[in-house]
């Protein structure tokens, strides 16, 4: 037993010496995650505001200008240009200078005064479907409330003022993220993605590297047992991973002013659990590849990209086709995202998170034993 521990520690020491010798490894392992967290955390926002808008107000009456003002003062739209002719809109939207166009035709003012329905047109650049959809729904809300205001004014003028039925006043309350900042939702997710990427790139070349450079033969004839070698390889990465967890959690808290609503101890514990699965996946990749290039391609295309896209990071899982939804159950990041969002935003505890915790545990144990098994076979 003592000999085993000594052997493992010896391998760990050797790995760390190698690690220390390469200053690039140090920078990549500790500085890159923090750097990326800050930049990507600030960048990952789906909030739609200041949509560049071009106005074509052919009516140019006080009422049409008032409506345009409603748009510009809403905060959702920024008027970037004011054009007279309709075909100028084409150019602006084609070139991407504006994403939304408001067209108010000539007799807008007259139609409203005469009680007829006054058409206006909103054109949205659908090539950015998400922003276009949200922009359209903001625009219709602005127009509807303006429309209602005009209606009520004209009815008041007719003396029907006080009794207008059917006025529903929606009082909106937003839970968990009152300002509806998508950043609050994204930053914990970016944290999870970073941990996944960092730990997987650390381990997925670990064993194939020795194999390709011919050191594996030396190890095979040495008295080191496969599991000792495995543990010795894994421990340094685990330590690096834990330091990364502490760094990114700390910076999330400080830089983004995003307090952890749940328990910090639980958060660190579950991060550790997640590290086990990603380190295990990396090792697994390393054992099934013959060259480092293969390992790299396999890790990126078969593991990391599906994790990014199928985990529910930006694309909601419930929108995916049923078959893909089943696939997402095999994506450990899926469970970890629920955990980390729950802990950061909702402040839930183990009571709500145990299914995800169990799933991650099963994954971690499963993938670790699989890579040990593969590894043993290769050495044998």
């Amino acid at each position: 037993m003592n000999a085993t521990i000594r052997t493992i520690l010896e391998i760990v020491r050797k790995e760390f010496i190698q690690f220390r010798r390469d200053p690039k490894m140090f920078a990549i392992s500790f500085i890159a995650p923090v750097f990326q967290l800050i930049i990507l955390g600030y960048a990952a926002t789906l909030d739609v505001s200041n949509i560049p808008t071009v106005v074509c107000d052919q009516d140019n009456s006080s009422i049409s200008r008032d409506l345009v003002r409603k748009f510009s003062s809403s905060g959702y739209f920024t008027i970037v240009d004011d054009v007279r002719r309709l075909n100028q809109i084409d150019q602006e939207i084609d070139d991407g200078k504006a994403s939304i166009a408001i067209v108010i035709p000539e007799d807008f003012d007259r139609n409203i005064a005469s009680g007829e329905s006054a058409p206006i047109q909103i054109i949205a650049d659908g090539s950015e479907s998400n922003s276009a959809g949200i922009g359209m729904s903001y625009a219709s809300m602005i127009v509807a409330s303006y429309s209602q205001k005009i209606l009520i004014q004209s009815l008041q003028a007719k003396g029907l003022a006080s009794r207008i039925p059917g006025r529903v006043d929606a009082e909106v309350r937003v839970w968990y993220n009152p300002e509806l900042r998508s950043r609050n939702f994204m930053v914990p997710s970016v944290l999870a993605l970073l941990l996944m990427v960092m730990t997987m790139i650390l381990t997925s070349l670990a064993i194939v590297k020795e194999k390709e450079t011919g050191k594996m033969e030396q190890l095979a004839v040495s008295p080191i047992k496969p599991y000792e070698l495995m543990l010795g390889k894994l421990l340094p990465f685990l330590i690096i991973g834990v330091i990364d967890v502490i760094l990114v959690v700390l910076f999330t808290n400080v830089v983004f002013d995003l307090p952890i609503k749940g328990s910090l101890v639980l958060l660190l514990g579950l991060c550790l659990e997640f590290l086990m699965t990603t380190l295990g996946l990396g090792l697994f990749v390393s054992t099934i590849s013959r060259t480092q290039q293969q390992a790299m391609l396999t890790a990126i295309f078969f593991f990391m990209l599906p994790m990014i896209f199928f985990s529910g990071f930006v694309f909601p899982i419930q929108n995916m086709p049923p078959i893909i939804q089943y696939v997402t159950y095999f994506i450990p990041l899926r469970y970890f995202l629920v955990i980390i969002r729950g802990l950061f935003l909702k402040g839930v505890g183990m009571a709500a998170l145990w299914p995800q915790t169990m799933a991650l545990l099963v994954f971690g144990i499963g993938i670790m034993s699989m890579s040990v098994f593969r590894f043993r076979k290769r050495l044998g």
Binding site: A43, A170, E212
Partner: protein, 386 residues
């Protein structure tokens, strides 16, 4: 490069033999070659089907405290709405917490006890809407749906009352006519497919060359290169050519898959699409080579390649997150991401069908990027070989 007869001291570039050698080496690793050729199209198919932002199949809760004919009419609009798959009837205000906490519903509409009284008497009838804001994007969409339903209810009631009172039909003064260009059904696939193409190609290109130089070091074949008469520029070009061909083939398969499966046809010019893609690929492959000359070991090259491309391209290129919503400093950082320029050009050509007037600046920046990475990697390589 094509010049056969050297004029004075301009030497002939020995690119072809190096490219041929590189080709042979790539071919030997069947799995890697297969991955590089087929994976991009496969990724597009998988992700193209799976990903969209549409908020469908979401659930809502309605808590009708009033429970009168009027309030039930109002609530029924939510139950029958096609926006929501399930609408749960709540019987207790405490149920709301549970349904929202475990994510069963995205929002709850609370109709207070005095709702029908307010509606019929003509005063404002407050209704409370509680939404799960954790995912701000979804929450905004859900709020939009709920508001649309409420608006519809309001105008119905108003119209009915007035036609009962005066006979004259009432309509809303402004008639909004929305039109959406380029992508009328607002299908996320159309928005995402060009983004996926840029994303997948960036990764495939950078990754495929990032080990190309450093491998020679680790495998000990670099001595042969040092003693060979090949110049660094020739080496860099020779290593780029095979990968450019591979990447162009996978681009064609990607575009075909996009057209056949997602109905994303190329509206603009094929020639410009080819030119832009070619320049982008050369630049990205050059970036891979640069990483390869800087790294020292394959492990470090791999790590730099992943860190420099995967998440930054995903998040900073405008692929899913609109760049104009980012803080100004981060917007400045996005200029370092070549996929950003490529994406603008791709969307302009594929979706809008517009010519180079819409993306010439992007094209110039892409060309600068390609020149820069190739030059920098040649210089690095010269230093290494000395």
């Amino acid at each position: 490069m094509k010049r056969q007869r050297p004029v004075y001291r301009i030497p002939k570039l020995n690119v072809i033999p190096i490219a041929r050698k590189e080709f042979r080496q790539i071919r030997r690793d069947r799995r890697a070659l297969g991955l590089l050729l087929l994976i991009p199209a496969m990724m597009l198919v998988m992700f193209g089907y799976a990903l969209n932002f549409d908020v469908k199949h979401s659930a809502l809760g309605v808590y009708d405290e009033d429970n009168t004919k009027t309030s039930r009419d109002f609530a029924n609009l939510f139950f029958n709405s096609e926006y929501f798959d399930h609408t749960y009837q709540l019987h207790d205000s405490r149920e709301m917490d549970d349904l929202l906490d475990d994510g069963t519903v995205l929002g709850v509409v609370v109709v207070p006890t005095d709702f029908s009284e307010n509606i019929t008497s003509g005063s404002e009838a407050p209704v409370q809407i509680v939404v799960d804001g954790a995912n701000a994007n979804t929450a905004t969409t859900v709020l939009g749906y709920i508001n649309a339903i409420i608006q519809q209810y309001s105008s119905n009631v108003m119209a009915k009352t007035f036609s009962r009172l005066g006979g004259q039909e009432i309509q809303m003064p402004i008639d909004l006519r929305p039109r959406i260009w380029y992508n009328p059904e607002l299908r996320s696939a159309k928005f995402l497919v060009p983004g996926l193409i840029a994303f997948i190609l960036t990764i495939a290109a950078v990754v495929s060359t990032s080990l190309a130089v450093v491998r020679e070091w680790e495998m000990g074949t670099v001595e042969q290169i040092i003693v060979s008469p090949a110049k660094p520029v020739e080496l860099i070009l020779g290593k780029t050519i095979p990968y450019t061909i591979i990447a162009l083939i996978s681009t064609v398969t990607i575009l075909l898959a996009g057209y056949v499966l997602f109905d994303v046809a190329i509206k603009g010019s094929f020639l410009w699409l080819f030119i832009v893609t070619f320049v982008f690929l050369v630049g990205s492959l050059g970036l891979g080579l640069l990483i390869s000359t800087v790294a020292g070991t394959q492990q470090v090259a791999f790590m730099i390649a992943v860190i420099a491309t995967m998440l930054p391209t995903f998040i900073l290129s405008g692929f899913v997150f609109p760049i104009r919503n980012m803080p100004p400093i981060i917007q400045a950082v996005t200029y370092l991401i070549p996929a950003r320029y490529f994406l603008v050009a791709l969307r302009s050509i594929i979706l809008k069908g517009v010519g180079p007037s819409a993306f010439w600046d992007q094209f110039l920046l892409l060309s600068a990027f390609a020149t820069l990475t190739l030059a920098a990697s040649s210089i690095r390589l010269r230093k290494l070989l000395q």
